[in-house]
Amino acid sequence: MTGPVVTLDCRGQACPRPIIELGRHLGDVEVGEVIAVAADDVAAHHDVPAWARMRGQEFVGEVEAEDGVPVYRIRRLS
């Protein structure tokens, strides 16, 4: 799997801030590329996949950063 081109650091940010950042920065990657967001807010676990479904993007999955914070990956489809 190709790694993310851009990783947003949203540690310490409460919902819906990480999703807002994702919405604002999706255009920073090309169609087909992966953008990631590191977020420790518990709502992000549910809302990143929901955002991808609503916006027609592909939720690739969740990995853990070195500090244990979840990093969610999304492939830009449009």
Partner: protein, 369 residues
């Protein structure tokens, strides 16, 4: 009406039904004594309590001796669930917090969560699997979901539980919908149907293997020393009235909620309307607006003069998002639940609908989108 506030939070608490108000005041004067004593005021109080029980039984279509009063809907859930079974508990992923709390408190094992689909409907195969594994002897599935309105397939669930017992939380639906045919114990909450707060109803079927789960065995059939007799009578009067009116009220509310679902989808971009469009409670709807802070949305609506609930993390005591929305894969932030009272008008709903797109747009603009 001088108070023009549009209260759209009936699913938390319906305003006192007019049929209940006079009963509450009259019963407060007459029903003060302890019905277990042997003097005349005690007998009067006892008669009032039995009257309340009879009215509730008739409204629900059950026997008088199947009705217990409790001090809240939460208490009815705890008492009903914990009185069934002795081994493991399986519950749907979208049950009310009271069910999860009772399951955890019981220290029974295993406690199995039953998956739901994208419309919050419990997967009947999951029920079958949980019971077949052997250690589950009570299954808890609500009649209708309190946040998104989904009606659960209780008849199918009842056949899937096999030899296990079934607890049904009817907190969101009692009075509004006919009592489910399935269920060994069924719990309801008076303030959700326009009765006063502090009154729960627990129906325990005659055939159920249920016993009082708390200290004081000898009280088990006298409502745990329940003393809110005026409340029980008022709850009974409200229930009777709600059952009599429900055909008309439900049809009107169902149509208004359909209007909300359609207009929200059509007029607000990037919005997730949760739950089924048809097989649902008539009076409530939940939706989430992308990039919007739920608390800010509730506050903006309050400023407009409309009161709604929210399942977003930032509006909850625990800072956790709604388990219901999470389990069904719905967006959890920017969430509001609108639930109609029996006299919510089309004008009330339209006033909120007219304002919503602008409110959401402004909040998104503030967030930089």
């Amino acid at each position: 009406m001088t108070d023009s506030f549009i209260y759209l939070d009936a699913a938390s608490a319906e305003p006192l039904h007019p049929a209940a108000r006079d009963v509450l005041l009259a019963a407060a004067d007459q029903g003060y004594a302890d019905p277990r004593r042997l003097h005349r005021p005690a007998r009067n109080a006892g008669l009032l309590l039995e009257n309340a029980r009879e009215v509730v039984a008739e409204a629900l279509g059950v026997r008088r001796d199947e009705v217990l009063f409790t001090s809240s809907g939460t208490s009815a859930v705890h008492t009903g669930l914990l009185g069934l079974g002795s081994r493991g508990i399986a519950h749907s992923a979208v049950e009310h917090q009271a069910v999860l709390d009772a399951a955890r408190w019981s220290q029974r094992s295993p406690v199995t969560e039953l998956a739901v689909d994208a419309e919050a409907r419990v997967e009947v195969d999951a029920v079958r699997t949980a019971v077949a594994a052997g250690d589950v002897d009570v299954v808890a599935v609500q009649q209708a979901n309190h946040e998104v309105g989904t009606l659960q397939p209780l008849d199918e669930v009842a056949s899937a539980v096999g030899p296990a017992t079934l607890f049904v939380d009817a907190g969101a639906s009692m009075g509004r919908l006919p009592l489910p045919a399935a269920g060994d114990a069924i719990a309801g909450s008076a303030r959700k149907w326009g009765g006063p707060g502090g009154v729960g109803v627990l129906v325990v079927r005659r055939s159920a293997r249920w016993r009082w789960p708390f200290p004081g065995e000898e009280w088990s059939r006298t409502d745990q020393g329940f003393t809110n007799i005026p409340g029980a009578l008022a709850a009974a009067a409200a229930l009777q009235a709600v059952v009599a009116e429900r055909e008309e009220v439900n049809a009107r509310q169902h149509e208004l909620i359909s209007l909300v679902r359609e207009r929200v989808r059509a007029e607000i971009p990037d919005v997730d309307v949760a739950g089924p469009a048809e097989d649902r409670l008539p009076h409530l709807v939940t939706f989430s607006a992308l990039y919007v802070d739920g608390e800010a949305l509730v506050t903006a609506l309050d400023r407009l003069g409309a009161g709604v609930a929210s399942g977003s993390a930032c509006t909850s005591d625990t800072r956790e998002p709604s388990r219901v929305l999470a389990a069904m894969g719905a967006l959890t932030h920017g969430n509001v639940r609108l639930s109609l009272t029996r006299d919510t008008t089309r004008e009330d709903v339209e006033r909120v609908l007219d304002a919503l797109p602008g409110i959401v747009k402004d909040l998104r603009a503030e967030a930089g989108l």
